[in-house]
Amino acid sequence: MKILIVEDEPELLGAMQRSLEGIGLVCSTASTFKEGEDKLAGYDYDVVVLDVTLPGGSGIALLEQVKKDAPDRGVLIVSAKGSIDDKLRGLDLGADDYITKPFHMAELNARVQAVLRRRSFGGRSVVQLDELAIDTQARTVKVHEQVLNLTRKEYDLLLFMLVNKDRLLTRDAMAEHIWGDHMDLADNTDVLYSHIKNLRAKIRAAGGVDRLRTVYGLGYTFHSVVQDHTPDGKP
């Protein structure tokens, strides 16, 4: 899977590249309109991550070009503006998704993966990790072929953790992923903990491995490989 990231802020570009490579994607980068244009002409990418404001031209113009040349190429728009106009124009022009700066890298991973799944497998895709299998179109989770009865938030959380496996997930990133913007509530942590607790219980009840570990003071990591099976408690 090849990704092109077009972003003019070098620090952010580096972080995005590291993050996406961390989940096993191959990334190219471009930091100007021209560079983006050249790379798009020369190589084939599955998904283009596109900043709206670029030196030398607008990301929206680049999006128009992408959609003209290769309509089934996935595009994720990144914007510092977050204005409705940009969003609607982007989506109208065929962008698959839209993300506003600042964002959590785990969120970027999840969004890019979602675009990839939609684009690459016609939406039919199963994310698998040993005994755990998530059908992203049917939105079902199986452990040892047994279907888990998850709530929408538990499903969203599990898919988010699976995409970002072996990566530290902060509580804020998880909270923002399942609740979106404007959810600045004091007891987010408690509610998140409840969701995680229920999710773990359901996976364990179906005979699955509890892969989630608390990282002191920071959040959680969902491990692809676990040595010991001792579950840990609330942070």
């Binding site: 952010l12 977050g82 506003t100 890298m105 804020d172 404007h182 600045d184 509530l185 004091a186």
Partner: protein
């Protein structure tokens, strides 16, 4: 005091002074003229008597007004004028007389001719002068009032109309004020200055708003970089507890900064009227969605949510804003609730009423919609939720009202208050 009353008061004050001065002058002149005339008349009469005496006619006396007396020997002619008080038997009173006593030589004989006339005493006509002046003053006053009534309306009406227009002026609506033309130069000058001022204020305000929006935008990339860098740093599995704590604290602060930034940006964008779209929205569906979003929080606190919603209610509004409005109100109702508390949502086609249990309010209920007005001990929220709710209602032409009584908090949103198209322009 109104300018009109002030000027007429001054006007009347000076008029009264002038009238009093005129009265004194009139009195002095009148007194002088009367005295001179009386004396002159008496001198003429003495001449007449002289003529009679010359014709050897007998002139009889008529005391006290006329006395003719033959003097012994020859005397030099002379005239003595004086005032004297005499008893007048007819009037039966002492009277002041002007007396002109002349010594005349007629046909070789000396006569003393004395004429007296009752003097018109000053206090006799002082009253009349005063009365006349008082009547003149009263007439002047009356005329002034009538003239002012008449002209005040014509001259001052545009001024008061303009004053109303200026009072209604609000920066939020971004509209200049229409001032009425007047035939008074001063008012036209004032209008010109005010119009110029309004234009300048609007331009400055626009610039400030653009600046706030741009500043908020520009802040996003550096915040994103900080967040990304902290994210990277947190990935290291070998972090010590201290390092993890430091990174965690920095992450929480960046998260808060990011939320604050998007809330402020949202407020700016609402104020800049960037949400102009109006579509029919099924309010109950949005409330259901938001409640689903908050389900975890509601369950966590064991809150009882009761809905009395007319599911057919359709609101004309901007969908993104309407959703944020519902989210902010319900978020408050749930977030500021007590464990095992209650939230009641009532929806009719004119009103949305949300009530919730909670701790008694410590601050001023009137300040609930102010930016950053929040309970000080509160964590998590950036304190802009209700300001955003209030601005959303304002651009839709809805009213929003918060009331509280002990442990109950209540927010009422009234739709269809005024034509929203007048604001979204």
């Amino acid at each position: 005091m109104k300018l009109l009353r002030r000027t007429s008061r001054d006007h009347l004050r000076y008029t009264a002074l002038v009238l009093a001065g005129a009265g004194v002058l009139l009195f002095v002149v009148l007194t002088r003229i009367i005295a001179d005339e009386t004396t002159e008349k008496m001198l003429v009469n003495i001449a007449r008597i002289e003529e009679r005496l010359a014709q050897s006619e007998m002139v009889s006396s008529l005391p006290p007004v006329m006395e003719v007396e033959v003097l012994d020997g020859l005397h030099q002619p002379s005239v003595v004028v004086k005032d004297t008080v005499l008893f007048d038997p007819i009037e039966d009173d002492e009277e002041l007389f002007r007396e002109v006593s002349a010594v005349r030589v007629v046909e070789g004989r000396s006569y003393r001719i004395t004429l007296r006339q009752v003097v018109l005493e000053p206090h006799d006509y002082l009253g009349s002068i005063g009365l006349a002046l008082a009547i003149a003053f009263a007439l002047l006053l009356l005329a002034l009032v009538v003239i002012q009534r008449r002209t005040a309306r014509r001259i001052w009406d545009p001024f008061y109309r303009d004053l109303e227009a200026m009072k209604r002026f609000s920066l939020k609506e971004q509209q200049t004020i229409a001032l009425s033309a007047s035939d008074v130069d001063e008012f036209n000058d004032l209008n010109r200055v005010v119009s110029g001022l309004v234009e300048k204020v609007l331009a400055d305000h626009r610039m400030l708003k653009e600046f706030s929006e741009n500043a908020a935008h520009e802040m996003r990339t550096p915040v994103a970089v900080i967040q990304a860098r902290l994210d990277d740093a947190a990935q290291d599995p070998g972090l010590s507890k201290e390092q993890a704590n430091a990174i965690g604290a920095a992450q929480a602060a960046v998260q808060r900064l990011s939320q604050l930034n998007s809330a402020l940006l949202l407020l700016t964008r609402i104020d800049n009227l960037q949400f102009a779209e109006r579509v029919p929205i099924n309010a109950a569906e949005v409330i259901d969605e938001v409640l689903e979003q908050l389900q975890g929080h509601i369950a966590e606190r064991g809150i009882q949510a009761t809905l009395h919603m007319d599911r057919s209610v359709v609101i004309e509004g901007e969908p993104t804003l309407f959703r944020i409005l519902m989210l902010n109100l319900l978020k408050n109702a749930v977030g500021h609730n007590t464990a095992k508390g209650a939230v009641v949502v009532s929806l009719t086609d004119t009103t949305l009423h949300m009530r919730n249990t909670g701790l008694p309010l410590s601050g001023d209920p009137q300040r609930m919609f102010d930016r950053f007005a929040r309970a000080s001990e509160e964590k998590g929220s950036v304190g802009l939720g209700l300001s955003i709710a209030q601005r959303i209602c304002a651009v839709h032409g809805w009213s929003i009202e918060y009331t509280t009584k002990e442990n109950e908090h209540s927010v009422v949103v009234r739709f269809h208050l005024q034509d929203p198209s007048s604001i979204t322009a």
